[in-house]
Symmetry: C2
Subunit: 479 residues, 2 copies
């Protein structure tokens, strides 16, 4: 390395080729690795020096450590038999877009600092809107994730309900409490956002979402809102979920919008997972009514395959969002203010990466048709797996397969509820311990079940057949 | 592209080499490009298709568009004569770390999902702590930026002051208002964070920070806090700035900590810019007293050179932070909870990228000694420039050069205040219009000045000499 303290472009060229090759090799072999990490707490820390480096290393030293320390200690999200949590595809096309962003090293502070960063973000957000069949009443930006999007939405809702209390005495001077509503199947980030936005847990209503579909019950929502109003509280926001974490349930957005509208409450749709379904015309009905919402969050960094952190946030009224988020210091003023979009005023951070490049690269290199074909493959595979599982006498599919997630339980005769819970966790762990597939358990109606989240990019039907064999072996050995 | 909708590893290998070469070429030639974008609002949008792609493109098509559409439309942050805003170096070593993160495509949801992501983050945060000479009482994480860090700090402060109102009725049920204090030279993100956290603008105190140093005046802080207490308000938090955006002033942290302590107020240190000074033993006195704070934010993605978004956030009491940020849904529970760090509970987002790799790569590939040498070069260059400017009869250096930022004004005789403002903006714009250097104006004491923020990785003394020539030419033509 040169003594001016930086890797120069020629060194980068050679090290970059080496690293690209390493990534290509990793992706080729990932299916042969144990899906789940095989380390105990502290193992990685103990493998690393306790003190910072002194001399400069070569890339080959780091690559050796990637192989020996890092790779054995991660869940291989890109593995064809990773069925844990949600799909989190990092398509190689979007990896290139992300690399271009890092390589250009552009700092997005304002339109002025990087017009292309701003306007490409406008363009790809609009392309994604068109691909999703959303109307042109929506304006979009790219946030880091759905937790942040929900926090932003609940902050805007708070300010709407209090006529901009942030420009006065803040939330602390509000006399009658504001309330927030979501399904009890909503993601934990909704409750977190409500608490961080200052509403307080006493004012968060987890609305019933009963079996068999686990969607929010609109009557229960209406009743909860009416009861709050009666007691002097003010319904400020409803969060509807399109694709819950547990069972991929879709709350009935149209009904919810109608009820929220009666109270002037803000409606945010958390379509972090389910938004990708909008790409498929035949599944758009799952989000029927979404046009009535105030904001929608959709994470292309999940099933669709864009590198983290690519979370689309669409609003119908950018002026309302900007009214809450804007600051205007002198060092950011420019002669074009007003004529351009300033994305710093659409979210929490000031400086931003060139996130739009990931979207641009994936849409152009893979193409929407191929992406849609892959999504349809996953839906067909999930549905086929659900049929196999459902046809087996000892197995149950616990929720409608609305998308690519299959929720199952092995229920051999004669097990009480607690024993069944133990059995569920045991066979799931046994499958995971093989290293050949990875599943995550979750609670449904207070009892453990196992989620099979289909949708890693390389997952084909063969992988699901192998999983089903592993599941039956693991479950039968234990019953 | 294959019809399964993804770029395969062999296609990635070849396209990756092409893109790495393009980045290396870009970095080699960046110094010959106009620093500032040469486009008008809407130019980039008009150059892009209004509708999404239909067929899949080749990487070479995208690279051609990068050259023709994107590169002319960004401020070249990595340009040797970019003196705008703050340095935002994307060192090529950290670009590689960021590429490794994208290529692995790991999803950090919990320790369990990616032990290496969690433990490498623990390790590099601790290495950085050691390099900065901070005591081992600090525990760190990597957030996206200083705006988020400040919001997190003010949320924790709010909950400390209200004994966890988020677990009850929220901020809206607090009777006596909470107040927040920062210097009037603090970054706009402090006010934004206070407003988003619900304190309200009426309860934000911008404390005097007078010339010549523009540091917060501790007596004014003490007086403001005492007046608030007298009027029944409760001082909840103070934000001290280490390296203000305007003049790189350092608030006197030790005095501020003592005053905050009297009122039990939380103390956050925004060392987004100034934190890097801690790497240099001879500059650590600038942050004297930092050990008394509750939290510190430091952005290695600025001067130090790590790719965005690398914002270190250190706290003295992780349990207090986790108490505000934690959620515990069943699908994230694991048998090792309690034995490990769960970074999802240290900030707002749930899922995280493998951010620690950027830090690991830069520290190992460049090495701390070379990084420190570069920082010292920048300090010497800034100081030398300040001497030249200060020695010229018509030019003034407006603030002490504490770090790498030189604040200047050309003050020819006979100009009134408004004419001087116009002259300042005019010569700054004239320098920028040459495309050979980029400066940003800012207000100081209500009047325009020009900031010269030294510290792009490739900036050498020659570049500053060229800038000084451009400045004198531009200013003399106009006076």
């Amino acid at each position: 390395m040169p003594d001016n303290g930086r890797m120069d472009p020629e060194e980068f060229r050679s090290a970059g080729h080496e690293l690209v090759d390493w990534i290509a090799d990793y992706r080729m072999k990932v299916g042969s690795l144990p899906v789940r990490p095989v380390v105990a707490p502290g193992d990685v820390l103990r493998a690393l020096p306790a003190t910072p480096p002194v001399a400069a290393d070569a890339l080959s030293d780091i690559v050796a450590d990637l192989d020996s320390i890092i790779v054995p200690a991660i869940t291989h999200t890109q593995h064809p038999r990773n069925f844990a949590w949600f799909p989190a595809n990092a398509s190689l096309s979007s990896v290139l877009g992300d690399l271009a962003a890092a390589g250009l090293g552009v700092l997005g502070l304002s339109w002025q600092s990087a017009p292309a960063l701003t306007e490409l973000e406008q363009a790809v957000c609009d392309w994604m809107r068109q691909l999703a069949g959303l109307s042109d009443a929506w304006s979009g930006t790219i946030l880091d994730g759905a937790s942040t999007a929900c926090l932003v939405a609940l902050l805007v809702a708070r300010e709407r309900a209090t006529s901009s209390s942030l420009r006065r005495g803040g939330l602390q001077q509000e006399a009658s409490p504001l309330t927030v509503y979501c399904s009890r199947e909503a993601h934990s980030s909704v409750a977190k956002a409500a608490l961080l936005a200052g509403y307080g847990s006493d004012n968060l209503r987890l609305v019933d979402a009963p079996p068999p579909g686990y969607e929010m019950n609109p009557s229960a929502l209406a009743a909860a809102m009416a009861a709050d109003v009666e007691q002097g509280r003010r319904p400020a926001a409803v969060v509807a979920t399109a694709g819950t974490t547990g069972t991929t349930a879709f709350d009935p957005i149209r009904d919810i919008a109608e009820i929220a509208g009666r109270h002037g409450a803000y409606l945010h749709v958390d379509a972090a997972m389910g938004g990708t379904a909008l790409l498929l015309e035949e599944r758009r009905e799952l989000l029927e009514g979404v046009e009535e919402a105030d904001s929608v969050c959709w994470n292309p960094h999940k099933w669709m395959g864009m590198v983290l952190e690519t979370s689309l946030y669409y609003v119908r009224d950018p002026a309302e969002l900007v009214g809450v988020m804007a600051t205007d210091p002198s060092y950011l003023r420019s002669s074009v203010d007003g004529a351009v979009v300033q994305y710093r005023d659409w979210g929490i951070p000031l400086g931003r990466r060139f996130r739009a490049l990931k979207v641009w690269f994936q849409l152009r290199l893979d193409g929407p048709a191929a992406i849609r074909a892959r999504l349809r493959r996953d839906l067909a595979n999930a549905s086929r797996l659900a049929s196999l599982v459902g046809a087996h006498p000892d197995w149950r599919v616990l929720a409608p397969v609305r998308l690519q997630t299959v929720c199952v339980r092995h229920e051999p005769e004669g097990l009480g509820a607690d024993a069944l819970d133990a059995h569920t966790l045991a066979w799931c762990e046994a499958v995971n311990a093989t290293g050949r597939a990875h599943l995550t358990p979750a609670k449904l109606e207070g009892r453990w079940m196992v989620r099979i989240s289909v949708g890693a990019e390389p997952t084909e039907w063969d992988d699901l057949e192998e999983l089903w064999t592993l599941m039956r072996e693991a479950a039968s050995e234990r019953s």
